[in-house]
């Protein structure tokens, strides 16, 4: 079989792919040899006899527990106490930028990721990707061996081939050598690339990320004439205008921004003040759901809105164009921004064109925001480039046959490159193609060499955060599948294959760290998870005079529908497609799992005759894709949003085949949105799975919200909606309460609905993945879910999020119906679920008004895959089929803290126990604690006038309660 065939063919085994003679013989024999013919000396009767006997004897073994081995160390590692986890600081690089982590390790196995409280981009929180990264580490589908055109090979063979290519390139000064990476912030990697480019002076380095920040960079160039990194101080801002920047949802600093933003919305005791957020966007985002005023505009109309605001604020040359329907809104926003001069800011989204970024810079300048709410620094990237242009140049060189050796370091450009560049086609003109990647994906299928990449939890590296702070990444475990890091591949390319990742990173810091005592500073940097003093200093930048004159006002948005591309909220650009946790996590607003969809507004759907799950053909610039429709309340009319990352063809067992590929519509000149989309109905239907079909609260007051004004007039507005029956009004005898009284409060005013708690709980509590079919039957296993409700007109609804874990009711309806006492009430108020007693009647789930109990209809937990076993939390039982389960308030963490406290003869301190959902929350919306301690943070929250219980009228007396959501609308704007 030729190499070209191998790429396009599906195959079951490597033998088949290789087409060996042995495999041909194997195919020709109708049955594999051992089963052929009936000439075996063992007769059927003998076989039955032996089977019968073994069955009987097999039963006997069940009488005794099997013997188990204990395997101690030969030489015990220092500081390691079996039974006690260790935590190591590292960071997760995403799109090149680092978010600090503390990773929990049990006997050398990383099991759970937490945020690093000292890291500026984390502050103790993580996002869904950080939580799920530990599953990717153990993914059995990761590539495990070096391959050459699909056949097994080895690192040594690769080095030999690479050296030949190196020698060739030496003669041409590297004229045929190209390096393609993602965004690089790593000082070490940048230094390696620089020295490589010094060795091969004609070689070129290209960077490409499908979700790039090109427009922000270009916008800074327009406004300031140089590369500038902009950091926003949302904690200092009282009025914020968001121009389609989902700053709470994604970006290198989103966790930081969530913390800062929600800090400005906390109403506790003392003077009540809240920031005000205006969001202008096409597709509702979680930032939009937090807005006090949200304006749904097509992405192409945001620019003219920005110009209007700018003009009213006195920005010169803003040329606002003709009056439009949103002038009043713009007027009110501008006035509000101006009234809070120095405490207001405008932020533009990465998918908005450069001129919108420039306008935002100009407005911020006019508002006196620079140095107060907006800080400029030098760029964080080692070499900021226009990545789309960089890729275009590379493709041009490939097409012209100028590329002999292309080294693709991470990423999956064959899948993610814009369609019109025809990357895959031009790639085949490169003589030697090398791909380093976590998976054997679409790109490696078209490369000669595929090198398994070491996961970031397996490798030494370094990376910078949004503010420039460097973290040195340290491995938690040796590479499971013999992967190599980017540093090791680059070293091999430089002819220094013997260097380990550790040596490379350490050498760099020894040379460039400028540390007095290297060893000490190195240890401190590793321990703290950041290198002190590497934050970039603020920089004063001046606006270029008259820059807005150069940029023409936006054309009238083109005719026809607009298409907008967004990274997927859970599988991002497609790189997390094979992660079951992320696939199954309901997307924050649509609550879809395992799929993407074409999102349209209710009015547009009606106009085009579309309904949910209807399959349509999206035709755009000569390409077409079939996609199911999902109606999105609050979406801008005449606009369709599609998420990137789905439709993978070589992702692995989890991700292959899920969703449709929106990259097939994306073009290089308009990577984020453009008009000109046509929709054709096909009449087909594709079943999408959403975990929440019901949008209405059916006047049950599940979420209580008011405005700041209402709250000031009547702080107890939330409690007066529904009356709770007096205590003791029950036929059942009460439960004795001893010692601690555990409880939880969830601040709906802070919760942004990101869903990180869902994944943190999944990682902490060994919660299995059930797959699309079972999820569609309502059998998802998540112990905490985030409910989303809409209120108001479907074209512009208010959006609410409500995380719902087990309520741990004091009068728990589940307890009284269990026939076997598998769910009982603990003395500290926990509603206990005892798996080994459960017989699976499901009465408890039936009787639970909150629907938080989850049943293992099948053996959802994977008991066989060895690598997945290693991920599990050893302190939580792995549940089997036929067992009910639910949130335990992380009882393993409660018990661990209680044991430590009792050993020291003291009570558990307030804040000592942090549940997994609480730890991960960037908004600090979840607080767990002891109600019996009147000074605890929890007790104070329960005394807050906004505190209310869900379905209190049922007299369940839940221990988990909510704090009502507040909004701070501008009285000038109605609606």
């Amino acid at each position: 079989m030729t190499q070209k065939d191998a790429r396009n063919k599906t195959w079951r085994s490597l033998d088949e792919l290789a087409g060996t003679a042995e495999f041909q013989r194997f195919l020709e024999a109708e049955f594999p040899e051992p089963a052929s013919g009936g000439t075996d000396p063992v007769s059927r009767r003998d076989l039955l006899k032996v089977m019968g006997a073994s069955l009987t004897l097999a039963g006997m073994t069940a009488c005794r527990t099997p013997a188990e081995k204990i395997v101690p160390y030969v030489r015990a590692p220092e500081d390691l106490v079996p039974g006690k986890p260790l935590f190591f600081a590292t960071a997760m690089p995403m799109g090149g930028f680092a978010k600090g982590l503390l990773v929990e390790s049990h006997l050398g196995r990383p099991t759970k990721v937490e945020g690093n409280p000292e890291h500026p981009a984390s502050l103790g929180a993580t996002d869904v990707f950080g939580q799920a990264s530990v599953l990717t580490l153990y993914d059995p589908d990761r590539s495990q061996v070096v391959t050459r055109v699909g056949r097994l090979s080895s690192w040594m063979t690769f080095l030999a081939a690479l050296n030949v290519a190196r020698e060739e390139q030496h003669l041409k000064k590297g004229a045929g050598l190209r390096l393609l990476t993602g965004t690089v912030t790593s000082p070490t990697l940048a230094e390696q690339i620089r020295s490589l480019l010094a060795e091969f002076s004609s070689a070129k380095w290209h960077q490409f990320e499908p979700v790039s920040r090109d427009h922000a960079r270009a916008g800074a160039h327009v406004a300031f004439g140089q590369d500038v990194n902009t950091i926003y101080r949302f904690d200092q801002a009282q009025v914020i205008l968001d121009l389609e920047a989902d700053f709470l949802g994604w970006g290198p600093a989103n966790l930081r921004y969530v913390r800062d933003f929600t800090a400005g919305r906390r109403v506790g005791q003392g003077p009540v003040a809240m920031n005000r957020l205006y969001v202008v966007e096409s597709c509702p985002s979680i930032t939009g759901s937090m807005a006090d005023h949200r304006l749904g505009l097509r992405a192409g109309e945001v620019e003219s809105f920005a110009r209007k605001v700018a003009q009213r604020l006195g920005v010169q040359d803003a040329s606002p164009g003709s009056p439009g329907p949103h002038d009043q809104f713009a007027e009110a926003v501008a006035r509000d921004l101006a009234q809070h001069r120095g405490a207001s800011l405008v932020v533009a989204g990465d998918q908005q064109p450069p001129v919108v970024h420039a306008l935002a810079h100009a407005i911020n300048h006019t508002l006196g925001a620079e140095g107060r709410t907006v800080i400029h620094t030098d760029p964080v990237e080692a070499m900021p480039v226009d990545q789309m242009q960089s890729l275009r140049e590379l493709v041009g060189d490939m097409q012209a046959g100028r590329v002999d050796l292309l080294v693709i370091v991470g990423g999956n450009p064959v899948f993610t490159a814009p369609r019109d560049l025809a990357f895959a086609e031009q790639l085949s003109k490169v003589k030697l193609r090398v791909h380093l990647g976590l998976y054997e994906d679409e790109t490696s299928a078209l490369c000669h060499w595929h090198i398994p990449e070491a996961h970031f939890l397996e490798s030494w590296s370094d990376a910078r955060a949004f503010d420039g702070t460097v973290t040195i990444l340290q491995p938690l475990i040796a590479p499971l599948y013999g992967g190599r890091s980017a540093h090791e591949l680059l070293a091999a390319l430089a002819g220094k294959a013997s260097l380990s990742g550790h040596d490379i990173v350490r050498d760099y810091w020894e040379k460039h760290g400028r540390w007095k005592i290297f060893e000490e500073s190195w240890q401190v940097a590793l321990h703290d998870g950041l290198v002190a003093g590497t934050r970039l200093p603020p920089k004063r930048v001046a606006l270029r005079a008259g820059f807005l004159k150069e940029s023409l006002p936006a054309q009238k948005p083109g005719r026809g529908l607009e298409i907008a591309f967004r990274p997927d909220p859970t599988i991002w650009d497609g790189s997390f497609a094979n992660n079951g946790w992320l696939q199954e996590m309901p997307k924050p607003l649509t609550k879809l799992t395992w799929d993407n969809a074409a999102l349209v507004s209710p009015a547009t759907a009606q106009r085009l005759g579309l309904h949910n799950e209807a399959v349509v053909e999206l035709r755009y610039r000569g390409a077409s894709v079939r996609a199911p429709v999902w109606i999105m309340p609050g979406h801008a009319d005449d606009s369709v949003t599609v998420q990137l990352g789905y439709g993978r063809t070589r992702a692995g067992r989890v991700g292959t085949g899920a969703g449709f590929n929106a990259y097939l519509l994306r073009t290089a000149d308009e990577p984020w949105f453009s008009a000109g989309l046509e929709i054709r109905r096909t009449g087909d239907r594709y079943s999408l799975v959403s975990t929440q079909h019901h949008f209405s609260m059916e006047s049950r007051n599940l979420i209580r919200a008011g405005t700041l004004g209402e709250f000031q007039k009547n702080p107890r507005f939330a409690q007066q909606v529904e009356e709770s029956p007096p205590p003791g009004l029950t036929l059942y005898p009460g439960h004795p309460q001893e010692g601690y009284a555990w409880g939880m409060a969830i601040d709906l005013n802070a919760c942004i609905g990101c869903g990180a708690c869902v994944l943190a709980c999944q990682a902490e509590n060994n919660i299995p993945v059930v797959g699309k079919r079972e999820a569609g039957r309502g059998r998802s296993m998540h112990w905490i879910r985030v409910d989303r409700y809409y209120e108001g007109p479907p074209e512009d609804p208010a959006i609410f999020h409500q995380p719902v874990p087990c309520m741990h009711c004091e009068n728990a309806p589940c307890e009284v119906v269990c026939p076997v006492g598998a769910t009982v009430h603990g003395s500290e108020g926990l509603n206990e679920m005892i798996y080994n007693r459960c017989v699976g009647t499901r009465y408890c789930s039936n009787n639970c008004p909150y629907k938080v109990r989850r049943f293992n209809f099948f053996e959802f937990a994977d008991w066989t895959t060895p690598s997945l076993k290693a991920q599990r939390n050893p302190n939580v039982t792995v549940r089997s089929r036929g067992v009910m389960e639910k949130c335990t308030y992380c009882v393993q963490r409660i018990n661990a803290a209680k044991i430590e406290a009792e050993k020291e003869d003291r009570k558990v301190r307030d804040g000592e126990i942090v549940t997994a959902c609480q730890a991960v929350c960037p908004a600090q919306a979840i607080v767990f604690g002891d109600l019996s301690d009147p000074n605890s943070r929890l007790a104070r929250l329960k005394a807050d006038p906004r505190n209310y219980a869900l379905l209190a009228g049922l007299n369940t007396r839940p221990r988990t309660t909510y704090l009502a959501r507040l909004r701070n609308p501008n009285p000038e704007i109605r609606g």
């Binding site: 009488c63 005794r64 527990t65 013997a67 188990e68 081995k69 204990i70 395997v71 101690p72 160390y73 030969v74 030489r75 015990a76 106490v81 079996p82 039974g83 006690k84 001893e738 010692g739 009982v824 603990g826 003395s827 500290e828 926990l830 206990e832 005892i834 798996y835 080994n836 302190n875 939580v876 039982t877 792995v878 335990t888 009882v891 393993q892 409660i894 018990n895 044991i899 009792e902 050993k903 003869d905």
Partner: protein, 216 residues
């Protein structure tokens, strides 16, 4: 009409009903007995080990403290099994050539760990913590018996849930002063109940019978 059944049939019927009940009871009783017998609970059954390690010799004869090998018993859930290195700290000098210790030396040489057979095994849904028991005055011998008299180690107690609850319900019957926790030959004094009640108050021992204490 003539009687269909002989008069004796009544007796036979009564006897067979009684017999069936008895047979069921006896079978049940035997299964119950089997469930609690040493065969099932493995109480008193010495386990074969790769090296015939004798606690009787080391802990009893030599008087080595439990914590010399089980290092983490005071601060971790897991008491800890000594690494080969710990064995070799003495056995590189004493009995350095004994054939019976060859597996230990081989392990040290090759880096292959020794594989001991577990004696005390709890089901996977039970979470036990050594450190808190030791800190609350539960002696090693309370659960593990007189290990210092065992040439090969065996299980001294059933590890059935009722056995755990015996102490969790009435800790005053079993606790001892902390300083005697590691003393193998500690015998409860005649007034254990008085001492126990005092210790329960002093050590702030609670009667932990919530399911979540051990199951989660």
């Amino acid at each position: 009409m003539a009687q269909l059944f002989h008069r004796s049939a009544n007796t036979i019927a009564r006897a067979s009903i009684l017999g069936a009940v008895l047979a069921l009871a006896v079978t049940g009783g035997m299964l119950w007995a089997l469930y609690r017998s040493g065969y099932q609970t493995e109480v008193g059954v010495p386990r074969q080990q790769p090296v015939p390690f004798s606690h009787k010799h080391h802990a009893g004869g030599m008087g080595i403290d439990c914590r010399y090998c089980h290092t983490s018993v005071e601060n971790s859930s897991y008491a800890g099994l000594p690494p080969t290195e710990t064995c070799m700290s003495c056995h590189s000098l004493i009995w350095a050539d004994a054939p019976v210790l060859e597996p230990v030396r081989a392990s040290f040489r090759t880096g292959e760990p020794l594989q001991w057979t577990r004696v005390y095994r709890l089901p996977d849904f039970v979470y036990f913590d050594h450190s808190i028991h030791v800190n609350k005055g539960v002696g090693c011998s309370t659960c593990h018996g007189r290990v210092d008299q065992m040439p090969l180690t065996w299980r001294a107690n059933t590890l059935l849930m009722e056995w755990c609850l015996e102490c969790h319900r009435q800790p005053e019957h079993f606790v001892r002063p902390r300083e005697y926790v590691f003393q193998m030959d500690w015998n409860p004094p005649a007034d254990q109940l008085t001492l126990g009640r005092r210790l329960v108050a002093q050590y702030n021992i609670r009667k932990l019978t919530d399911c979540y204490t051990c199951h989660r």
